[in-house]
C-alpha cells in the first residue's frame, strides 16, 4: 500500500503550503481515502510514513472526524440529514424510506458494496430542506415522492 510518485509530489506541495508540514495531514487523509476507499490500519501506517508522524497520531486525527471512514462504505454513500430544519420538512421519513429500500442502517453498506447510508447532522443546506447528499453532491428540496428518482439518477450518472 503505497502512494505513486505523482501523489508523493502532491503531498510535498501540500506540506509546503503550511508553516509546519503536519498541517497537511487532513488533505493527505482525503487523498488516501479517495485512493483506498476508507482509512484502514494499513492506510494509517502509509499516511504516518509519508507524514513522518506516529501512527497513533494519524489514527487519532482520522478517528476524530466523521468524514474519514472507519470501515468500507458503499460506492454511493447516501447521507440523509435529519437535523431540525430538515426534520421540520420531512427528513426523518426520507431517512426511514432509504433505510427500508436498501435494508441498511446508519453507517452500513449493502452486501454488494454499491450503497451505504449515513444519518447526518445539519449539512449547511437548511434553506433547501429536506436534503440528502450522495458522495460529494447535494440534492436539496427532496421529498418522499422524489427521493428514489434522485438516488437512481445519481447512480446512473456515476
Amino acid at each position: 500500500m503505497t502512494f505513486t510518485s505523482d501523489e508523493l509530489a502532491t503531498i510535498a506541495t501540500l506540506k509546503a503550503q503550511y508553516p509546519h508540514p503536519k498541517a497537511a495531514i487532513m488533505p493527505v487523509l482525503y487523498m488516501a481515502q479517495k485512493k483506498w476507499g476508507w482509512i484502514s490500519d494499513d492506510v494509517v501506517r502509509t499516511v504516518a510514513d509519508v507524514m513522518e508522524l506516529p501512527t497513533s497520531h494519524v489514527k487519532g486525527v482520522a478517528s476524530f472526524y466523521t468524514m474519514y471512514f472507519k470501515k468500507p462504505m458503499g460506492k454511493h454513500h447516501i447521507q440523509v440529514c435529519t437535523n431540525v430544519s430538515c426534520m421540520l420538512r420531512g427528513g426523518e421519513a426520507i431517512y426511514d424510506h432509504v433505510k427500508q429500500r436498501f435494508g441498511i442502517g446508519h453507517n452500513e453498506a449493502t452486501a454488494d458494496g454499491t450503497i451505504s447510508l449515513e444519518e447526518v447532522e445539519c449539512m449547511g443546506a437548511c434553506g433547501g430542506a429536506p436534503m440528502i447528499a450522495i458522495n460529494e453532491d447535494f440534492y436539496e428540496n427532496v421529498s418522499l415522492a422524489t427521493v428514489d428518482a434522485v438516488i437512481d439518477g445519481h447512480v446512473k450518472k456515476a
Partner: protein, 442 residues
C-alpha cells in the same frame, strides 16, 4: 420594503469570476486601504460598528487591534467557514456568489494586521463550495491579486498568501481554538483561553479568527466609508446581515437585509409566510443553540443583537428556524440535544456527561416515560453545564434545552406521567439513580 443595499451579496450574474468582480469595482476597496496606514484601516473598521457574524457579535475592529504590531514574528488570519450550527447556511452563499469579496476582505484585514498568510477553513461536507473557493483563489493568484505578484499589481511591498483548508466533519471545528488545532493537524480539541489567539494562536503565533461573512463585509465598509456603513441597520449592531431562513416558511433561503429587520416582516413578507397559513409556534432566531421565541411574542421583535438580548436570546448566526403550530416541541428539543451530545468533543466532564444526560432524559420525556421532576432535572443539568466548560459548546447545548422548557413547559408537562411509577422505580432501584435523588443531591 427594505432599501438597504446588497453589499455582501450583490445581485450581479457571474460575480464569482474575477473579471466580473473587477468590472464591478472589485479590489478598489483594497487600493483604498493601501492609501491609508494599517492603523487607519483598523480605525475605520472600528468606527463602522461592524460586529462578528460568526455568532458572538464581537466588534471586529477591536479584535484586530489586539494583534501585536511589528513583524518580528509571523502572524496569521484564519477565516472561519465551518458553518455547522444547525440552521446556518449563509457563508456557503458567499463562497458561491461572491468569493472575491471574501478574498479582498482578507487582503484588507491582512494589510491592517500585518498578516502574511491566511487560511480559509471550510467544512468538509461543502465539497462543491471548497472547489469554488479554491477556483477563486487560484484565479486571484493567476491574475496577480494574491501572492508575490501583488507587488506589481498594487505597488508597495505588502503580499499575502491564502490557503483553502477543508474540514472533515466535526461541528466543534467552528470553535476558534478547535479550528486552530484542526488546522495544525492535531485532533480538534478546543484550547483553554487565555492565552487568547491574538497572543498565541496558530503555531503559537498571533492569530485572528473571523467569520466568512465578517471579512466579506469589510471591502464594502472601505468602499462606502465607516460613517455610511454605521448608518445602515440597527444602532449598536450596524450593517446588513445574511439571514438564513429555514423550516416552515414558503420561501426559505438566504436574504441580505439590514440588521434590526422585523422578524414578522422576514417571515411574512420576505419569506412568503407559513405554509397553509398556519400560526407560528416557535422561532429560533440565530441557529440551534440560541434560546427560542414563542410565536405569540414575535410581534415587533427586531433582528439585531441588542434587541434580542433584551428578550433573553441572541442573533447568533442569524439562522432563523420557523416552526408552525403543529410542531412537536419536545421532539425538536430532543433533536437539538442529540446533536450537541454527538458533537461534544468529550474533554470536559460537564459537557460530555451533561449532554448525554439531557439527551437521555429528553428521550424519556418524548416516550412518555418521565415525570415532572425530570423536567427540573433537565434545567438543573443545563445550569451545571453552563459556564463550567473549556469552550462555549457547553453553553450552546444548555441554552436551547433551558429555553424550550422555559417557553413551552406545558408541552413537556403534557408528555410526563402525573405520578412516578413506583413499580418500575423499584425495578431500576440500585441500578441507577432516579430523577428525585439526582435533583436533591445537586
Amino acid at each position: 420594503m427594505y432599501t438597504a443595499p446588497h453589499i455582501v451579496l450583490p445581485q450581479i450574474p457571474n460575480l464569482h469570476r474575477i473579471d466580473t468582480y473587477l468590472a464591478n469595482g472589485g479590489y478598489a476597496a483594497y487600493r483604498k486601504a493601501l492609501s491609508m496606514t494599517p492603523d487607519q484601516v483598523i480605525d475605520e473598521v472600528k468606527r463602522s460598528g461592524l460586529r462578528g457574524r460568526g455568532g458572538a457579535c464581537f466588534p471586529t475592529g477591536l479584535k484586530w487591534s489586539f494583534m501585536p504590531k511589528g513583524n518580528d514574528k509571523p502572524k496569521y488570519l484564519a477565516i472561519n467557514g465551518d458553518e455547522s450550527e444547525p440552521g446556518s447556511f449563509k457563508d456557503r452563499q458567499i463562497f458561491e456568489s461572491n468569493p472575491h469579496q471574501l478574498i479582498e476582505g482578507i487582503l484588507i484585514a491582512g494589510y491592517a494586521m500585518g498578516v502574511k498568510q491566511a487560511f480559509i477553513y471550510i467544512r468538509g461536507e461543502y465539497h462543491k463550495w471548497v472547489n469554488m473557493m479554491e477556483d477563486a483563489v487560484r484565479e486571484a493568484y493567476d491574475k496577480g491579486y494574491v501572492g508575490e505578484r501583488m507587488k506589481q499589481t498594487f505597488g508597495g511591498d505588502y503580499t499575502i498568501d491564502i490557503v483553502v483548508h477543508k474540514g472533515a466533519g466535526a461541528y466543534i471545528c467552528g470553535e476558534e481554538t478547535s479550528l486552530m488545532n484542526s488546522l495544525e493537524g492535531d485532533r480538534a480539541y478546543p484550547r483553554f483561553k487565555p492565552p487568547f489567539p491574538a497572543n498565541k494562536g496558530l503555531w503559537g503565533m498571533p492569530t485572528t479568527i473571523n467569520n466568512v461573512e465578517t471579512i466579506a463585509t469589510v471591502p464594502a465598509i472601505l468602499s462606502m466609508g465607516a460613517d455610511a456603513y454605521s448608518k445602515i441597520g440597527a444602532p449598536g449592531h450596524a450593517g446588513t446581515i445574511l439571514y438564513g431562513v429555514s423550516g416552515h416558511v414558503n420561501k426559505p433561503g438566504v436574504y441580505e437585509l439590514p440588521t434590526g429587520a422585523l422578524l414578522t416582516d422576514i417571515i411574512q413578507n420576505v419569506c412568503g409566510g407559513v405554509p397553509g397559513n398556519k400560526k407560528v409556534k416557535a422561532v429560533i432566531p440565530g441557529g440551534s443553540s440560541m434560546p427560542p421565541l414563542r410565536g405569540d411574542e414575535i410581534e415587533g421583535v427586531r433582528m439585531d443583537e441588542e434587541s434580542l438580548k433584551v428578550l433573553g436570546t441572541h442573533i447568533g448566526t442569524a439562522g432563523i428556524m420557523v416552526m408552525d403550530e403543529d410542531t412537536d416541541i419536545v421532539k425538536v428539543t430532543l433533536r437539538i440535544a442529540r446533536f450537541y451530545h454527538h458533537e461534544s468533543c468529550g474533554q470536559c466532564t460537564p459537557c460530555r456527561e451533561g449532554c448525554g444526560w439531557m439527551e437521555k432524559v429528553l428521550h424519556r420525556i418524548e416516550h412518555g416515560d418521565a415525570t415532572s421532576s425530570d423536567i427540573d432535572l433537565l434545567l438543573n443539568v443545563a445550569s451545571n453545564i453552563e459556564g463550567n466548560t473549556i469552550c462555549a459548546l457547553g453553553d450552546a447545548a444548555a441554552w436551547p434545552v433551558r429555553g424550550f422548557i422555559l417557553k413551552f413547559r406545558e408541552e413537556f408537562e403534557a408528555r410526563c406521567k402525573p405520578q412516578r411509577n413506583y413499580i418500575s422505580l423499584n425495578v431500576v432501584h440500585g441500578r441507577r439513580a432516579t430523577a428525585d435523588t439526582l435533583t436533591r443531591s445537586y
